[in-house]
Symmetry: C2
Subunit: 240 residues, 2 copies
Amino acid sequence: MAIGEGMIKGTLYGLGLGPGDPELITVKAWRLMSTVEVIAYPKPPSSDSMARRIAAPFIPDDVIEMAIEIPMRTARKPAAKIYDKAAKDIAKHLDAGRHTAFICNGDPFLYSTFMYLHERLKEKYEIEIVSGVTSLTGCAAAQRRPLASRNDIIKVLPAPLPDKALRAEIASGDCIIINKVGRHFTRIRKIINELGLTGKAQVIENATTDFEVVRPLQRIDEDDQPYFSTIIIYKGSENW
Amino acid sequence: MAIGEGMIKGTLYGLGLGPGDPELITVKAWRLMSTVEVIAYPKPPSSDSMARRIAAPFIPDDVIEMAIEIPMRTARKPAAKIYDKAAKDIAKHLDAGRHTAFICNGDPFLYSTFMYLHERLKEKYEIEIVSGVTSLTGCAAAQRRPLASRNDIIKVLPAPLPDKALRAEIASGDCIIINKVGRHFTRIRKIINELGLTGKAQVIENATTDFEVVRPLQRIDEDDQPYFSTIIIYKGSENW
């Protein structure tokens, strides 16, 4: 019998590790990281892996680590090739009966790399999703203001969306969260300003970590462009 | 010196315990529950507390427990009185130097009772917010389908909103999460049907617990009205 043939396959776990504070990982993610044979994580080519950094206190010495290099911004086609290759590499471990955790910051089913692996592997392997604390509520804790209460409408709007869509969506709703701000900061700021909402917007960076910074949008200098930021506009009633 | 006077006040912790599976609590919530003197939680008058149920494996024997009775549906004014009283009761413990955790399912800053206590106590006491896994991503894990990828727009719409607002908001966006469904189920179903989106809607009950049920909306009988449900409509591209 060839290696892997007829063997019991390993399970793939998609583990959300939360927004940044290692203590915000779940008991379940902790338990699974201490029992799997392989821990895989996404990593930008020229910096370290945020997921790996969050997980550091919980990664056993004898686990097989697997860094998957994923460029921060990629067109769909080259990205698909990277995911195909990563899925194949993970499949090798699963076929050999090794339980494998793919760890990611936030939640595995919310704007995460894991979804692309899930899509490629779900037909052939057992996959368990372990939800994590998202940066959405991590940012709410950071700014010390609730996201939404009662019948407030929440919207999550990725900053790369076209101006027209952003304008239309920001115009209605109570709590507007703009994520993936990156190089779009100046453009987003302009839209928020045009809608007269600058006074209601906060800019949050590195929520729940030692480098957490929360600033009102109106106090950020024109030449300052916080790249890794989330913007939260709260238009709801603050009458609790 | 009278009791409480000049003493170091206790800290209030707002602890999110996640969507239902006790293993989805964070390491931080676990640590804090084992160190505080008082654990408070909301409780409907005629049933047990969901937060207390999630926390059960982690509550120390010698902690002071404090159940705060909060009716499921209340007009604003009587609710405000209940929160005033609860805040006063918690303040007594804090004044006596006792660290107190208020536990809630999900996240303390997302449609939670804790926000009303936070508002009443934040000027006088030190408060720390510990984010939790929300039922939003718990539901995504339950239905084994990502909430959002790439530039998908997410909306969270409380079901008690008027038809007109719901219709307008559901019409745009990629992932629509309708929470607080309760007695609004039939009305919401009708709106989704009119928008031609029934085939894209899933109904999730008790996500991440032993009683988890996920059903396509179109397979739910006319006379069935799942009260404790969340409806997720996914209109985005499933091309990963």
